[in-house]
Symmetry: C2
Subunit: 373 residues, 2 copies
């Protein structure tokens, strides 16, 4: 069943709704009391499909897979302590989006959907194009006209139809929604499935830490799918009586586009309307997160917090990571900027386990990195 997070109505999956008729975001209901035992996990595949109890499929479905998941968790000395870095930029297309898209496309194939439309300025478009190719689903990706040649050529190489839209990012979304009236709007932000694929990164962190929950998990937040995924995963482990407390979710936004951060510090329940300014962390430059209310609630439920970092801090974060051997896109560097902030506030404790999530590959952002200095 698909549940609307706004009006709480339920819909059959066969409705093929990507959004509730009320305008609210839908989420697939998953039984959170079922999870594989540690013994069972030992013989499971080295991919996110090892958590199949938490990723419901119809009988006999073979996942649409490129080997996504089980990315390295690398402990590194960091400032005065030690941090575990989750290298999710080593997913098949170069970003964590592969997790969500792998599950989403698998479910869309089950529903018999043969043609999809997605809009993206980067990572999600590449992920959708790759998994649609793997699944044999026709795929149109709408991108803003200003999208870099490198991103476009990756999407087109997978065989997707690329549509460049003049104007703003929002104009691109409108054009995609319109085109999708004839096919299916597979928008990862609205998808009821996407975030369930994303949550697997948090299962992996738990498993890679010898089946314990860390104290803090630091993630970048634009639409907030990493926050929601983390929350869903640890709620699942709590419901399955595998852990006894949530880790704190520390979500990081760029100061230049921080509707969630502003709401968080103003103790509001909905994202705040902001005037978006340019940021090198373009992957989290979302002025209107469609699940913002749920994201804010999730952070609060875990006793977590939000941080906002400026452009200089992000640049320093990029070089701090690179000089430790981690080459990420500037969006991911907000996490290193947050580590520096936490260190300054005395919140990076050696007595705690801290995990920092790295979302996208530096190899995708050559043009941006060339202009960082």
């Amino acid at each position: 069943m698909l549940l609307c997070e706004r009006c709480h109505q339920q819909h059959e999956e066969d409705s093929k709704y990507w959004r509730c008729p009320c305008g609210g975001a839908l989420l697939l209901h998953v039984d959170e009391t079922r999870f594989p035992s540690q013994e069972a996990l030992q013989s499971r595949p080295s991919s996110l499909w090892r958590y199949k109890e938490a990723l419901p499929l119809r009988d006999g479905t073979i996942p649409v897979s490129l080997g996504e998941g089980l990315t390295p968790l690398v402990p590194l000395p960091w400032k005065s302590g030690r941090v575990f870095f989750k290298l999710d930029y080593l997913c098949p297309t170069g970003s964590y989006k592969d997790r969500g898209v792998a599950y989403e496309v698998t479910r869309l194939k089950e529903l018999g959907i043969s043609s999809i439309v997605e809009d993206s300025s980067g990572n999600a478009g590449a992920a959708m194009a790759a998994y649609a190719a793997r699944a044999g689903i026709h795929c149109q990706i709408f991108v803003p006209e200003y999208t870099s040649a490198g991103k476009c050529v990756q999407i087109e190489s997978y065989g997707a139809e690329l549509v460049r839209v003049p104007g703003s990012r929002e104009d691109t979304t409108r054009a995609a929604e319109q085109a999708a009236s004839h096919t299916y709007y597979a928008s990862h932000n609205w998808s009821p499935y996407f975030v369930h694929g994303i949550k697997t990164y948090a299962f992996e962190i738990w498993e890679q830490l010898q089946c314990t929950a860390p104290h803090k998990i630091i993630v970048p937040a634009g639409q907030g799918s990493l926050v929601l995924g983390c929350y869903l995963a640890f709620r699942h482990l709590l419901q399955s009586k595998i852990i006894s407390r949530f880790p704190q979710i520390i979500a990081v936004q760029a100061k230049n586009c921080a509707p969630l951060y502003e709401a968080f510090i103003q103790r509001k329940e909905e994202p705040v309307q902001i005037e978006k300014q340019e940021t090198i962390a373009e992957g989290i430059s979302s002025a209107l997160p469609v699940r913002g209310r749920e994201v804010l609630a999730a952070i609060r439920k875990t006793g977590g917090e939000m941080l906002a970092v400026d452009e200089e801090e992000i640049k320093r974060g990029f070089y701090d990571l690179a000089k430790a051997g981690l080459y990420v896109e500037p969006t991911s560097a907000v996490v290193a900027a947050a580590l520096a902030k936490l260190e300054g506030q005395g919140k990076l404790l050696t007595s705690e386990t801290t995990v920092a999530f790295l979302s996208g590959s530096g190899l995708k952002a050559t043009d941006k990195i060339l202009h960082l200095k």
Copy 2:
């Protein structure tokens, strides 16, 4: 001990020789009768360090690691059959070179080497820069002046000193050797350690195929480290009485630079002198493979063969892979071109297990891919 493959002399590791005084290539001697049991492997780390019996270190050494290894092995329908693709482009810096460099840098750190020089036109330079950064070793990377901005910025971001050398690739090597007279020449081609790190990909293939050897393993060959690594790994498994036969190694060169292929079909023991022409498979454009004799012998000992593919075949191979969701650099596409050749020759049998090795990420080659069409 380091053994010279030409004059068969032994040298102490503390000699810090990177090449035998006779001019021959050195290789570290490893005891091939020791290998972890399948039971032991279940609790080993998710990285190439799970095969520690085959990667000797001094007592107490902590590996210089970025989580390299255990990359996905993905079965895909391919032409009339099915092929397992080893996605080694998902190593930390975007190429399989990380395996060799991780082991090499770990050993150099053990030897107390604090400053190294490497020359590279691409992947090895990035790998060396990243692992030197991780290890706290000062690192100079010499590149030909024509090296792309994207590769240069990756190397410099890790904090390595980049030296651009006018002239040919060979001029770059000469400049690096000269500079190394004051420090240590960490050339991955000459290193006695590098190929031992590389061999771990073949252990993983064996383990990911439920601890069986496949029938065929298809790899690109320039200097031939993937051939030697594969041969060393399966010889190790044979010596340890874990398998009973070699898989066939199928090594692929670009027609425009095929000194090993020419030697193979002419039944010669040494690489043939060729006039090198430009190829989009630049990662294997090596006219003078320094371990060429050993590479040729290894392929023959496994009952394998060599193939040469032309530029059009490589381009088609690139798109065949991308349309299956695999975005690789053109060098890796020679493997798909070889699959097409084998299919045409009736050698891609459904009764056999075939593994195709994908060495480098397409995200590293945007400039090349933009000009493929």
